[in-house]
């Protein structure tokens, strides 16, 4: 697809409002549950320009404020209308380094699109789909230009974790002329974009492409390097000569249910299931060495985006009956509406107001079933959602071969535990100053993403990575002027 074609004429606002939102072409549900290829097929140039035509070009655009990285949305959309796809992607990249990823996995319906003025009377402009479109055009054309990088500053920054926060932080620091090394514990780059989000939502080739671009900008990536084990943060500062350290270590510690029978074989965390399938490509066993087994009947506990990914992977792995067990209702489900709808289209059996009480197994230790308690909604709890309460005497059993626990993740303590003096809150999250993302207890240590907020979204992590990059840049300036010093680490690391 060419990066520049003839544009569409400017229409009046009234004419624009008559155009209906363009649906995303997709694989049919029947076809897509048989493969791991991407579900959404992407707009054509003509559709994208027609969709761009819908934007009213508000003088005070609410969508920009709704975007965690404040992309100039009306400007890039108008460039699409004019047929200038190259200009559009350049406009996005002024504030967002990874549009092909964000266009796919951002919850636009809660961010830019929910505040679109068209949302009130009609349907919002499909901002995410347009972002994805121009990023894909650029990648397919093979003309991705490297952003301008400032002259080398002589400063070294270590980034722990090659997920969304680390990637965004690294890109901005490289642009500012700093020498960046990303330390990644796994053997592949991308963090949750690679081990967590399935191929059918975010093709791994796209993540690889973005990481390659980062390397072309001079960012060094060391995979298979576990900070806290292979080296400590103290050693990064004082032996390896880094001037600042950024934690983008995410929320990688799985939560379990705490019900009887949880260690039966076939009960797995969402992390284990998704890592086998996405990172280790177990869906292609034995061509890949890591196995995964789902059997005929699968229950996924939880109803967030991770649960949706598990349900849909299980279906694609050949499970005949895939059940979502969630103790509240569809209205309280934390999953994106789009993900819920796609799961519903893919023949998932949703059991709302259902809580697992016990997991059954056989003598060989394999899971055979689950006891479920029916629930009803009571008074609102601390989160403002109505609290599910058990309906007495409503328990029933289901037969299952696999139980996938997708009820949330918390920060992995491996790196933080090996960093004495680092202030954590009671959830194990690093406490930072929000303006700079610098640790409140260890100056020179920065953090962003799920390790600060607890499990959240890719775009929030990227936004935090960008804020931290600015904070780190300021810190390096102060270090240069002798206004601050690197943390001394008075106590010995664990």
């Amino acid at each position: 697809m060419p990066e520049r074609i003839e544009g569409l004429p400017e229409l009046t606002k009234k004419e624009r409002m008559k155009i209906a939102r363009h649906a995303m072409p997709e694989q049919t549900p029947e076809a897509r549950v048989e493969n791991f290829a991407e579900v959404a097929l992407g707009y054509t140039a003509a559709t994208a320009m027609e969709e761009a035509q819908r934007c009213l070009q508000c003088e005070k655009p609410l969508c920009v404020a709704g975007c965690p990285v404040e992309i100039d949305i009306p400007a890039f959309i108008d460039l699409i209308r004019q047929g200038d796809f190259k200009g559009a992607v350049a406009k996005i990249k002024e504030t967002n380094t990874l549009p092909a990823i964000c266009g796919r996995v951002c919850p636009q319906e809660d961010q830019c699109e929910v505040v679109c003025v068209l949302e009130k009377k009609f349907t919002p402009v499909a901002i995410g789909r347009l972002e994805r479109f121009v990023a894909d055009v650029e990648r397919d054309a093979g003309t991705t230009e490297m952003p301008h990088c400032a002259a080398p500053s002589g400063h070294k920054v270590a980034i722990i974790g090659c997920g969304p926060a680390g990637l965004a932080c690294a890109a901005d620091l490289a642009k500012l002329g700093h020498q960046v090394t990303i330390f990644e514990a796994l053997h592949k780059t991308g963090g949750v974009l690679v081990y967590g989000i399935p191929e059918f939502r975010l093709p791994k080739a796209i993540v690889d492409f973005e990481v390659e671009n980062l390397k072309r900008m001079g960012v060094e990536i060391r995979t298979g390097y576990v900070v806290g084990k292979t080296a400590t943060v103290e050693e990064l500062f004082h032996e390896q000569g880094y001037d600042a350290v950024f934690f983008g270590t995410g929320a990688g510690l799985p939560s379990f249910l705490g019900v009887p029978g949880e260690n039966y074989i076939g009960v797995v965390s969402a992390n284990e299931f998704l890592t086998r399938v996405n990172l280790m490509k177990a869906y292609d066993f034995p061509n890949y060495d890591t196995p995964v087994r789902v059997g005929k009947r699968v229950a996924v506990v939880g109803s967030g985006n991770v649960a949706m990914d598990c349900l849909r992977c299980a279906k694609r792995l050949g499970a005949e009956h895939v059940i979502c067990v969630y103790r509240r209702t569809r209205n309280e489900s934390p999953a994106r509406k789009e993900e819920l709808e796609r799961a519903e289209e893919e023949f998932i059996d949703f059991r709302w107001l259902s809580a697992p009480l016990e997991i059954y197994g056989n003598d060989d230790g394999f899971v055979t079933g689950m006891k479920i308690q029916r629930m009803e909604l009571g008074e609102p709890d601390a989160s403002g959602r109505r609290r599910p309460v058990p309906v007495a005497g409503s328990e029933y059993d289901i037969e299952v071969d696999t139980v996938i626990v997708a009820i949330g993740q918390s920060p992995n303590p491996l790196a933080t535990r090996a960093t004495p003096g680092l202030e954590l809150n009671r959830h194990g999250c690093i406490v930072v100053d929000e303006a700079t993302m610098m640790s409140r207890s260890l100056p020179g240590v920065f953090a962003g993403g799920d390790i600060v907020t607890g499990a959240a979204t890719v775009i929030l992590a990227m936004g935090a990575g960008k804020v931290a990059a600015r904070g780190i840049h300021d810190w390096l300036g102060k270090l240069e002027r002798g206004e601050v010093t690197k943390p001394p680490f008075t106590s010995a690391p664990a």
Partner: protein, 286 residues
């Protein structure tokens, strides 16, 4: 990429690799392990570190060929590369002067025992070791373990070397003859550790074991390695691999170790069939 400096056969199907991993060698403490990945399509497997040499920047891994990945490792050559070696992972062994420590090693479990026995001896303990295997050739690292021990006993199931019987028989006799040691460390097949734990529980001797569960990442991310210890779910990769042997639910562990038996067998058979084909081709070409 990690270069293989040395590779030698130390017993049938047992290979000793000396691998370049300077940062791991520097930080390794007894009881820790690495995650190894051979190729892009490979699986990640945990291997305990048998020795580390910070000066040379190398670690020693002892690998027994049991499945596709370990059999593939047996095919690697000196000077060749391993795609990924990650570590040192896990919580190190708590080493101090306990007094008398009995180190019970079985089969491939003798390899991780070596740095622990050496560390215990260095800390001033009297180290009494009991090593066992099915037959003489499978009692590995005898010289190294002898050097790390004050006294050593060997057992074989078939009586081909040392005393006939299991390590637990030798341990029971040792307790009867010499009295209760201050600590027992047991590393070997899960069933061996279970039997050792049952014996020492009776005598109320504190006992550590090192568990060998199935892992993927090795950093606490997936929970595949989880075991029940004292009624609590614990992760072998970060909370272990060592635990109080008297609190480990070995029955759960033994079952969980079998979770992928059919897949393991399929992979092994495909690997062997593939290699048989290649060997035949080699004959045809010769």
């Amino acid at each position: 990429m990690h270069t293989i400096h040395r590779k030698e056969l130390i017993a049938p199907k047992f290979w000793r690799f000396v691998v370049a991993a300077p940062e791991i060698a520097r930080r390794h403490r007894p009881g820790q392990f690495v995650m190894v990945l051979l190729s892009d399509r490979g699986e990640r497997i945990p291997l305990t570190i048998a020795h580390s040499d910070p000066q040379a920047g190398t670690i020693t891994l002892v690998v027994q060929e049991v499945g596709k990945t370990t059999m593939s490792m047996g095919e690697l050559e000196e000077g060749g590369q391993i795609l990924s070696v990650v570590g040192p992972l896990g919580t190190p062994t708590h080493i101090e002067n306990f007094g008398t420590v009995v180190c019970v090693g079985g089969g491939a479990g003798i390899a991780p025992m070596l740095p622990i026995a050496a560390g215990m001896k260095k800390a001033g303990n009297r180290v009494l070791s009991i090593l066992g295997g099915r037959s003489e050739e499978l009692v590995i690292l005898r010289d190294e373990m002898t050097a790390a021990s004050d006294e050593i006993t060997f057992t074989t199931d078939d009586g081909s070397f040392g005393r006939k019987g299991f390590v637990t028989h030798a341990l029971a006799d040792l307790i009867a003859e010499k009295g209760k040691p201050d600590l027992v460390v047991a590393i070997g097949p899960a069933i061996m550790m279970k039997v050792v734990a049952d014996l020492t529980r009776k005598h109320e001797i504190p006992t550590l074991c090192s568990l060998n569960s199935i892992m993927i990442d090795g950093t606490g991310m997936c929970g595949c390695c989880r075991v029940t210890v004292g009624g609590q779910t614990r992760f072998v990769c970060v909370d272990g691999p060592e635990f109080d042997a008297h609190k480990v639910d070995f029955d759960v562990l033994l079952k969980r170790l079998r979770m992928f038996l059919p897949e393991e067998q399929e992979a092994r058979e495909r690997y062997m069939a593939d290699h048989a084909c290649r060997a035949l081709e080699g004959v045809a070409h010769a």
